[in-house]
């Protein structure tokens, strides 16, 4: 077990190393191959008004003319121990984890990411709890009442939930509940949990529901399929033959087995979500990581994009690791070796 965890941790680190190399290549090496020069990069830092000499000097000071490997090593080193940067206006210290400075705001990337994390965490936590409970409940009921009106209605709604993108459902929800009925917060309203929990929930309820709807739909379908399969298993017949109540048969024996794959997918989905619910955050103008990423992309702010990419990759790799460990906990047949 311990050796398994250590092996998986090493694997996770290797995975992150590969992601970092790919990210670095995409954003620094590929543009260079396509003809973007070191001075072009330096230009993004110093701005259009600077003289050619300043730009060349900055490019040298930032090490943009060094071999690619050296530059990559410097970037990685920054993440672990911090880095010194000199944009021509004196040396600045960027403490670890340092993902460099934004081209646009000239602020270090990491503190901005940290600032936005609570928003994304709040969104992800609320939405995932809602969709897990709702999706599993609807899925179980649908499976038990297969073919009933409830089942048919639920599955049609679920199908639309799976196929409608959140910017569509989100915008409809906003115009209906926030601007039409005025019962939920308008877009762009966000109150931190630490300031006012009630306001926090009020400002997030619509984004939660929008995001939850999308995933609850998928989970309802998954749970329904899983329950239908599980309830036909021999061990369910055994549980009934023992004289167990049907409710116990369903929850203790049926759901227990049907939930295993759901737990796995749930872990991965939450991991992905922690990297930023890009569409939902944009629809509701929530200042989270997803919104941050879209801003970074639209302004071609490379350090931000890379910082975001690495953080999202970290969440996903960690979620994978946790899910694998969890899998062995829920299914005793899985051997961790």
């Amino acid at each position: 077990m311990v050796t398994y965890i250590i092996r998986r941790l090493i694997g996770a680190l290797l995975m992150l190393a590969v992601v970092s190399m790919v990210t670095f290549s995409i954003f620094f090496v590929v543009p260079r191959l396509a003809g973007v020069t070191a001075t072009d990069f330096a230009n993004r830092y110093v701005g259009r008004a600077a003289t050619q000499e300043t730009v060349v000097a900055v490019a040298n000071k930032l090490g943009l003319n060094d071999p690619v490997v050296v530059q990559y090593a410097r970037w990685i080193k920054g993440i672990f121990v911090g880095a010194e940067y000199d944009y021509g206006a004196g040396v600045e210290h960027c403490p670890a984890p340092c993902f460099g400075y934004s081209f646009v705001t000239k602020n270090p990337v990491w503190p901005d990411l940290v600032d936005r994390m609570p928003v994304t965490l709040s969104l992800a936590a609320g939405a995932s709890i809602i969709w897990l409970l709702a999706g599993v409940a609807v899925g179980v009921l649908s499976a038990l009442k297969r073919g009933s009106i409830f089942d048919r209605t639920a599955m049609v709604i679920a199908l639309s939930g799976v196929s409608l993108p959140p910017f569509f459902t989100g915008l409809i929800a906003l115009s209906l509940f926030s601007y039409g009925l005025r019962i939920t917060a308008p877009g762009g309203a966000y109150t931190p949990l630490t300031e006012n929990p009630a306001e926090w929930a009020y400002s997030l309820i619509l984004p939660w529901l929008t995001l939850a709807f999308l995933n609850a739909a998928a989970y309802a379908r998954l749970t329904r399929a899983g329950m239908l399969e599980t309830m036909g298993e021999d061990y369910i017949r055994t549980a009934r033959a023992k004289g167990l109540r049907e409710s116990t048969v369903i929850t203790k024996h049926g759901l227990r087995a049907a939930l295993t794959p759901i737990v796995t997918i749930f872990g991965l989905d939450v991991g992905i979500l922690l990297g930023g619910a890009i569409l939902t955050e944009n629809v509701f103008s929530l200042p989270g990581l997803g919104k941050y990423a879209t801003q970074a992309i639209s302004t071609q702010d490379l350090p931000k994009i890379m910082g975001f990419t690495m953080l999202a990759a970290f969440f996903i790799v960690m979620a994978n690791l946790i899910v694998d460990l969890l899998y062995a906990v829920v299914d005793p047949r899985v051997r961790l070796t």
Binding site: E233, A241, G243, R256, D331
Partner: protein, 343 residues
Amino acid sequence: MSEHFLDVRDLKIHFPTDDGLVRSVDGLSFKLERGRTLGIVGESGSGKSVTSLGILGLHKGGRARISGEIWLDGEELVSASPEHVRRLRGKKMSMIFQDPLSAMHPYFTVGAQIIEAYRIHNKVTKKVARKHAVDLLGRVGIPQPERRVDSYPHEFSGGMRQRAMIAMALSCDPELLIADEPTTALDVTVQAQILDLMRDLQRDFNAALIIITHDLGVVAELSDDILVMYGGKAIEYGSAEDIFERPEHPYTWGLLGSMPRLDREPTERLLPIKGSPPSLINVPAGCAFHPRCAFEGRTGGKANTEVPDLVETEGGHLVRCHLPREERRAIWATEIKPNLESA
């Protein structure tokens, strides 16, 4: 009312499906007393499992159409409420299934599953139930039961798993025990051990035992009575002696001929039953066995028009065949028995 411990009367279990009505069990009657063993024998698909699940009330609430009567210790179960029958399940009557690997929940330890079965019907602490589970595991011949009680089913061998399954079924001292193909999923050597175990346990528990199998060899030594099923109906029913010494139905002769025997190559079948079991949706007209019967031509054209009745031939021995009794006996004595013995 019925003075018998178990008295099944004209039991019918039909399933409406998209393809038509499946007559899985179609007018089955039999009786069984405490301490006695009934073997129910028939090819796969003859309705044996549906019968046993029907006795346990496990078709209730589903789409099955059930009629007839099942008297258990003076109570009628077909008309009883599902909740009432649930309370009898696991306690008054319990069941051992064919494949213990799929019949046990993979996520719970063997002990937990026995403890659960015990505590449904006995208000005891977990500790007491656990002690009981360990005792039971020891009793069914599992070595180191204190340790094995915490193992998962997949950590057991096939034979040990079936022993654990038996322990679970016995946890509440059932008065009726139904074993549905208890040895089919096991190796030949393990099969014999499990059958020995069941015989010992039945003597100790004094339960009424139903052993269901497609293999007459399995019930040969265990059963007092044997019921041979074909297409959801009984085609021959009598004492074990009747079935083995004086069988009168061509299908039973076929089963006897295809019985695996230790002194014969398993592949070598003396009198194989040609063809395949009937569809239970479109049961052949007349005698359901006639498309496969070698003696079909000797019944004067009745075989494919008239359903033969199950009639007594002698001393409680019942046969469903149009052939006259004397002719059946003659065929057995001159054509079938000598062949079986010379093999």
